[in-house]
Amino acid sequence: MSDTTQDMATQPADSQSSLFRQLARRIQSRWRSIILFVPYAWLLIFFLLPFFIVAKISLAEIVIASPPFSNMIEWTDEGVMNIRLVFDNFIYILTDNLYYRTYLNSLKISIISTIACLLIGYPMAYGIVRSGPVAKRLLLFAVILPFWTSFLLRVYAWMGLLADRGTINNLLISLGIIDEPIRMLYTEFAVYIGIVYTYLPFMILPLYANMERLDNTLNEAAADLGSRPMNTFFKVTLPLTIPGIVAGSLLVFIPATGEYVIPDLLGGGNVLMIGRLLFNEFSANTDWPVASAVAIILLVLLVLPMTIYQYFQGKAAEGQ
């Protein structure tokens, strides 16, 4: 910096401006690289690199230290690099009953929730598409609005509804339908409700976008050719909304599988889900290598659906 100032001070006026011009030209020719470099470097350091570290830790052994894992690369006295890979963590997870059951349960819960979202979200999206222009806007707003309010507080709202002495039980008892409160909070049922409630907009929006692009004249053409509304739906509308169904389902399925907050708040300790297990294992600071291995396996499980999602998004982008 000081060099530049000195240089500039000793330069005559016109060459000073030529220096500026040179600098400007350099920026002109370099700005593309700068634009690309900054976000690229950021993502490499803060997104990609961490995964390699997690992968590394998952192959390490637990040691009693901080952080609690061994170094994978060690320099021996002779200066020879010694790489130690331990697959014990993975073997442990895949044979341990608890982990195994937790993975399966996570998949079960997210699959059932996804189907529930689809069954509720599909007719809602279709209803929005079929509304008048003003109603359509308002309804879309109504669907997006919860997304802007706190996720945590929306889950919390259901705690109040589902608790033993919560709104639903109070209502049912006061109506004389039941005498004893039904246990709903801290059950798997509550987790389903929570997931469907939070992720329903993620199902509706891609479906809506898909359906909105559909040409209504296709429905008219089908009717004109003698097809009744129900038949038209199954033969024309449904096949053409498959991209929306896939996108919406994956947008629900992927985050639901790794969900932590909902099973923790609504399922209490009673519902096994991998996200919660992972979080607790890490925050309790016990066995990082195993926790890292758990994360890697979860990632592997979700790579396929994530790839499918990206593929469909790419195809949709091409279609436009």
Partner: protein, 280 residues
């Protein structure tokens, strides 16, 4: 018109909207409950708002969360816009596939994995270069920027693709250099997309619990972390009050946005009218 909304669809919509909004309405109503036990009605009262406003812990958490959200939104918008520009306007470049992959992956990555891997990164960095010395504001902000920038990039990319390149080409044709075109044509036209990106990044940051919980350190509690630690133990009327304030705030913002959109549309219609008069 053929193909109107059927009764079944209307019923499903009504059911869905009730499902969306009844829990939130109840949340608001119970915030005015005098009783300490949330679901037991003890008469109207503002008692829990008082409790809330007197809690220094809450104010600190709000301040921290807002600080993180502001810094995050600003940086994420800059980085996300750059990334979106590179993806849409730079044609093919070395490492484009990897870059595109890294831009989309944060959108679908489970939060626990993102959080965990960033925590591990920060710990490793501290061991290697002694930075970040302690976890809190900086680490949470970095984590938030990392996933927020991906959302901004998606918005920017969509807008850039939708805009087309004709105006840029016109500017080049009229003698503007590429960098000038970027600053004088592309960025101003991109502004609405950048604003929505900024707002989205801001909201995402305010809303995040899981990633912040992983990368925070002792003493640095964001608002979601504070709320979570309280409601884990059960229902708390002061949280209802907090929720009400947040819902009200969001509702006002959304109403303002809607009003703004409404006026913009009116103005467009007016412009159209004036334009039509020119033809007549």
């Amino acid at each position: 018109m053929y193909g109107k909304r059927s009764t079944f669809l209307s019923v499903m919509l009504a059911f869905g909207l009730a499902f969306f909004y009844i829990p939130m309405i109840l949340l608001v109503i119970y915030s005015f409950n005098y009783s300490k036990l949330v679901p037991v009605w003890g008469g109207w009262s503002l008692r829990w708002y008082e409790v809330l406003f007197q809690s220094e812990e809450v104010w600190n958490a709000v301040a921290l969360s807002l600080k993180i959200a502001l810094v995050n939104a600003t940086f994420a918008t800059i980085l996300g816009t750059l990334a979106g520009l590179a993806m849409v306007r730079f044609g093919r470049f070395k490492g484009r596939t990897l870059f595109g992959g890294m831009l989309v992956a944060p959108l679908v990555m489970p939060e626990v994995i993102t959080g965990l891997s960033l925590l591990v990164l920060f710990i490793t960095l501290k061991q290697l270069i002694g930075w970040p010395a302690e976890r809190g504001f900086t680490t949470i902000t970095i984590a938030h920027i990392t996933f927020s920038l991906a959302y901004v990039a998606v918005i920017v990319q969509a807008r850039l693709t939708g805009m087309g390149q004709t105006l840029e080409e016109a500017a080049l044709d009229l003698g503007a250099k590429p960098f000038k075109v970027l600053t004088a044509i592309t960025l101003p036209r991109l502004a609405p997309g950048m604003i929505s990106g900024w707002l989205l990044a801001f909201t995402l940051s305010l809303d995040d619990l899981v990633i912040a919980s992983f990368v925070t350190g002792p003493g640095a509690n964001t608002l979601p972390i504070l709320i979570f630690s309280r409601i884990r133990l059960g229902l708390r009327p002061d949280i209802n009050a907090l929720a009400t304030i947040i819902i009200l705030f969001v509702a006002v913002c959304v109403a303002l946005a809607a009003l703004l959109m409404f006026y913009q549309q009116k103005r467009q219609e007016l412009d159209q009218k004036i334009a039509n008069q020119g033809d007549a």
